[in-house]
Amino acid sequence: MSLTAATATVAAADSHGFLSPTGVEIAFLLVGLVTLGAALVTVTTRQLVHAALWLVVALGGLAVEYLLLTAEFIAWVQVLIYVGSVVVLLLFGLMLTRAPIGRSPDADSGNRWAALTVAVAAAVALVWVVVDAFRTTWIDLDGPAAGTTRVTGASLFRYWVLPFEALSVLLLAALVGAIVLSRKATPDAAGPGRTTAADLPAAGPGEKEGAR
């Protein structure tokens, strides 16, 4: 199956050029710009909850990019896990601790430049790897969708089983770790009178486990 897919993508690459973009490619670029902009606002805004809401826009933009690449299943899982659970968890944490309306003067860090360096380095490495790996790969949008649930599942469980299982073990470790940490914080109140809030941070990785 991958062989036919590879020939299809090579065949599709022959008929493409960078100078005559199709409508989908233009849409892909525009959505990418919106996503990048939302991500930048997320890390630069001084309003904590606004940062979380801009993160929703950025993650949603990523989902749209997946959709444009015909990876429908990945797109919806992206919305389900990141917008539906992770951001809700973030907002929950913010509301539980502090979520002032308006600017937070201390929503900044002295590590700004170190963080920027790490971020740029990571971005460069990722872009380099992806460009190098998929330079001549084109997705044939007119043929059968290359990212349907069936294709995604088959390649995930045929070629990528080991990384997949390793990731689930990692998530399981995070889950156990979260439970251990939340228990250690309240050694005397570990009875039935425990608040539910202490349990909730453990729910994030657990949901990822269930949703995959």
Partner: protein, 322 residues
């Protein structure tokens, strides 16, 4: 041109359904509650059986002043009702009501994931409303909403995954094409878990802790007035339509019925959806509100294990019958 017309027609039909069905359910709720609790108020307006009550409510909402509190985060506060309502419009697009190819707004390859993902987004509207209102009751309501979503998303997803396993597909029409009558008893536990978790996600009684009007004064919606408040109410009723439609499609066989599947399939879907919607209203007038800790306990200690057991059962039966 024909394609564009087809798409436009489908969108129009879905939009009309989106505008009318929630109102029909709202009207039904008025009447059913009035009968079950012996209320006289909703039976008065307009004469016969109080038919004009809904219109009176609509006029009342439209007349009220749209207030944004001085301390609120203006933009988020005003955006929240739209974020709460629009996802349900999108979900309606994917729910098939009949066996033919024309009886669904848009066939999606990963329909189950689409509907669950988008329904989860709707809850962000309540969170935004709760935070942006600058009101401690609203903030408490938002917190409870988030906690409730995190607790009930998992069993709902697991129950839906069980059906997807049984059918071998995650497309909603695909699931219905593979349906046999014995799936109903086979997936019964999953159906109950899905329905209960869906009720909790919609914050309907007995899971209405986040809006508990007698404790935190309607929670995230305390500060809302007029049309924006009406939009939140509309989102709740649209949510009932979506939840009942989804339960019908996933667990009750959608358009399948004892007879008339070919011509009258859509009628079966609507009938099952209507019966489920009646059950939702019935539960509202029957059960008292759960406490917050009881609500979390119900999900983590009962619904999650039950849905995992249902998945195990589905897997075993699936292997045996192959």
């Amino acid at each position: 041109m024909n394609d564009a017309l087809d798409v436009a027609l489908r969108l129009l039909v879905v939009f009309v359904v989106f505008l009318t069905f929630p109102l029909i359910i709202g009207q039904t709720e008025h009447k059913v509650m009035a009968h079950m609790q012996g209320r006289l108020g909703p039976m008065y307006a307009g004469g016969f059986h109080g038919w004009a009550q809904l219109i009176a409510d609509g006029v009342k909402f439209a007349q009220k002043e749209d207030v944004v509190p001085a301390g609120a985060d203006r933009r988020v506060f005003q955006l929240a009702p739209a974020v709460a309502l629009l996802p349900y419009l999108l979900v309606l697009l994917a729910i098939p009501i009949g066996p033919s190819a024309g009886a669904v707004g848009q066939v999606l390859d990963a329909g189950v994931f689409f509907v669950l993902a988008v329904m989860g987004v709707g809850v962000l509207g309540s969170l935004m409303a709760g935070w942006a209102s600058a009101n401690k009751f609203s903030l408490l309501g938002g917190l409870r909403t988030a906690a409730q979503l995190l607790a009930y998303e998992l069993p709902m997803l697991l129950a839906a995954a069980s059906v997807a396993m049984a059918a071998g597909t995650v497309s909603l029409p695909g699931i219905l094409h593979g349906f046999h009558w014995w799936w109903v008893p086979w997936q019964l536990v999953g159906a109950v878990v899905f329905f209960v978790a869906g009720l909790a996600e919609l914050q309907r009684p007995p899971f209405d802790m986040p809006v508990a009007d007698s404790e935190i004064i309607f929670g995230a919606y305390t500060e809302y007035t007029g049309l924006r408040f009406a939009l939140f109410l509309l989102a709740e009723y649209a949510g009932i339509v979506v939840l009942c439609g989804l339960t019908t499609v996933l667990f009750l066989g959608g358009w399948h019925g004892p007879w008339g599947t070919d011509g009258l399939g859509w009628l079966w879907t609507l009938l099952k959806t209507a019966i489920l919607a009646f059950v939702v209203i019935w539960l509202r007038v029957t059960y008292p509100r759960l406490r917050e800790d009881q609500l979390q306990k119900l999900s983590w200690t009962l619904l999650v294990p039950l849905s995992l057991a249902q998945i195990a059962l589905t897997g075993i039966v699936k292997v045996v019958i192959q």
